[in-house]
């Protein structure tokens, strides 16, 4: 054989193996993808990366076994809007995207790469879970599947970790999304569960559908395991790219500013916020008058909608907004609202995104139902997260902040950089109606004449309102500033600018003892 033909033979072999590997699993599984409106893993990557460019490691994993191309996972490095990112992406045409020993090793290695490069890591999940037949090689070992989760925990708050859930993430695999900063789910295809409906029927006798057990909509509305619900995979990829535009590449990276934009056209805050403290209004409309037009990236929109948590921009600067929504459940805080806000605060704080609290909150819910759910420790968890956050924090009392609601929304005691009140704001242990009832209930009952009774109540309520007058609070230095609603946006923009250099350190302890 001549030298030339040897070279050709080598090239041909490389080409042949490469061609086989990048095709993924058998044709029938590609057909199945089409039926499920799913994209092939390499198409997903092409759409995700700038110009569809990426490099891949471990492409030839298990290449000697013909039916395990890349061992069912593609691990790649490329760019998103110029930012280098690492990706692991299951290939569900290969043994349903299940994990063998090489799969797990490849996932661990791309995590190590992301850690060394200090760049975001995306998990494109579509996997049936562990290959039971391979369990000794991939389950209990030091570099077994457990190491994936251990790495996720170590990387949490160091680099952004995103999960795009395109299919199932079953049993142990369900912890990949659980440890990510954000989970984007494709409705109809994405699912998360520890035990499948089939297993649940066998083991605990429960008969449910996959959607009921762990569907995308369920997780985005009920369990809170999902953050963003989308209709298609293409949309999931667009959302992931957009999400990253708010985040530095790692926790020490510079903030990502965008071109400043004016607010959306609409009614003024004066018109939006009703004078009656108890009347509902739509907080989204108020947020629109404070942030750059079209700059919202909402997290957990469908979960605990009585509180809004959204990334946004003010004069191009990324901020995290936490706002009570009086239109839903009166803006009262529940167990789920505490979960939602806690995760959002830790997310923003980890990546130095300043926080804006817009308070209009009657307090935490009361009653046996929530007490049995442990609303006190959930509230404590939220307050601990807010209190521990060291990013710039601006607290605005939009209308009212009663009871522990004031604390949860970064009230004066929690060292916000400024506590601003609108002129109509009320701050108190409770609202005038409840307070007068609480203090004078015996006296009220003792008044026989109904007219006289109403007059007495009104009189006492008026007295109470004067007691909690916002200028009295300003005079006593409880709040730092009273701002006219139409000036609020420019005040926020200016103040966030000044607070840019804020640097405070908590003590050198390891960490607080979390209340939950």
């Amino acid at each position: 054989m001549t030298n030339e033909s040897t070279k050709t033979a080598y090239n041909e072999k490389l080409q042949e193996i490469t061609a086989r590997v990048i095709k993924g699993g058998a044709e029938k599984y590609h057909k199945k993808l089409e039926q499920q409106a799913k994209l092939f893993v390499r198409e997903r990557l092409r759409l995700l990366f700038d110009e569809g460019n990426y490099v891949e490691d471990g492409k030839f994993a298990n290449c000697e076994t013909k039916d395990l191309p890349a061992d069912g996972v593609v691990t790649a490095t490329g760019k998103i809007d110029g930012q280098t990112v690492c990706v692991m992406a299951n290939d569900s045409t290969v043994k349903a995207g299940s994990w063998g020993a090489r799969t797990v090793e490849k996932i661990i290695r791309i995590q190590e790469t992301a850690e060394k490069l200090r760049v975001p890591l995306l998990y494109l999940v579509d996997s049936a879970g562990a290959r039971i037949t391979d369990q000794l090689d991939m389950f209990p070992n030091r570099r077994g599947a457990g190491r994936i989760f251990h790495n996720q925990v170590r990387l949490s708050g160091v680099i952004p970790q995103l999960c795009l859930l395109f299919g199932p993430s079953a049993a142990g695999g369900a912890y990949i999304p659980a440890f990510c900063d954000i989970v984007i789910m494709v409705e109809g295809n994405a699912s998360m569960y520890l035990g499948s409906p089939r297993m649940a029927e066998k083991v605990i006798g429960e008969k449910v559908t996959l959607e009921e057990m762990g569907g995308a909509r369920m997780h985005c509305t009920v369990s809170g395991c999902g953050d963003v619900l989308v209709d298609t995979e293409e949309q999931a990829i667009v959302e992931a790219r957009k999400y990253l535009s708010y985040f530095p590449g790692n926790f020490e990276g510079p903030a990502k500013f965008a071109e400043p934009r004016a607010v959306k056209e609409g009614r003024s805050l004066e018109e939006i916020i009703p004078e009656n403290q108890n009347a509902p209004f739509n907080m989204y409309e108020a947020i629109d008058q404070l942030v750059d037009d079209n700059s919202l990236f909402e997290i957990k929109k469908l979960f605990a909608p009585e509180v809004i948590t959204t990334l946004a921009r003010i004069d191009g600067r990324p901020v995290g907004v936490i706002a009570n929504q009086p239109k839903v459940k009166g803006g009262v805080l529940f167990v789920d609202s505490a979960d939602k806000v806690t995760k959002f605060i830790t997310l923003c704080d980890a990546f130095s995104i300043p926080l804006l609290f817009l308070a209009d909150v009657p307090g935490f819910m009361i009653g046996t139902k929530v007490e049995r759910q442990g609303i006190i420790r959930h509230g404590a968890k939220l307050i601990m997260a807010m209190s521990s956050a060291t990013v710039p924090k601006i607290s605005v009392v939009v209308r009212k902040a009663y009871g522990a609601g004031l604390y949860a929304m970064a009230g004066p005691a929690f060292e916000p950089d400024v506590c601003i009140a609108l002129p109509t704001a009320q701050i108190a242990v409770m609202g005038p109606e409840a307070a007068v009832n609480a203090v004078y209930s015996n006296k009220i009952e003792a008044i026989a004449d109904p007219k006289e009774r109403i007059a007495f109540i009104k009189d006492k309520q008026q007295e109470y309102k004067e007691e909690i007058d916002i200028y009295k609070m300003a005079s006593d230095l409880i709040i730092d500033e009273v701002v006219a609603p139409h000036n609020l946006r420019s005040v926020l923009a200016e103040r966030f600018g000044y607070y840019e250099t804020k640097k405070i350190m908590n003590s050198s302890r390891k960490h607080p003892v979390y209340p939950v």
Partner: protein
């Protein structure tokens, strides 16, 4: 058929529709009062009010059906 349910425990402050009324998606059908707040409950579908359960002033639990709407 859509069931408009109480989103939290509270009192029925105002029922904004009558049985047989046509309603549109997003229209407020009941105002609940809880934690001293007025909480609007909206129709999630276009349709006709089939039945009203309960009356103004009634105490209701979370998830209790207040209005059924035939779409």
């Amino acid at each position: 058929m859509q069931e408009v349910k109480a989103t939290m425990a509270g009192t029925i402050l105002q029922i904004e529709v009558k049985e047989g009324d046509a309603v549109t998606k997003g229209q407020v059908v009941v105002i609940l009062e809880s934690m001293k707040m007025e909480i609007p409950l909206e129709a999630e579908v276009d349709g006709t009010v089939n039945k009203i359960h309960g009356a103004e002033g009634d105490f209701v639990d979370e998830d209790e059906v207040l209005v059924t709407i035939q779409s």
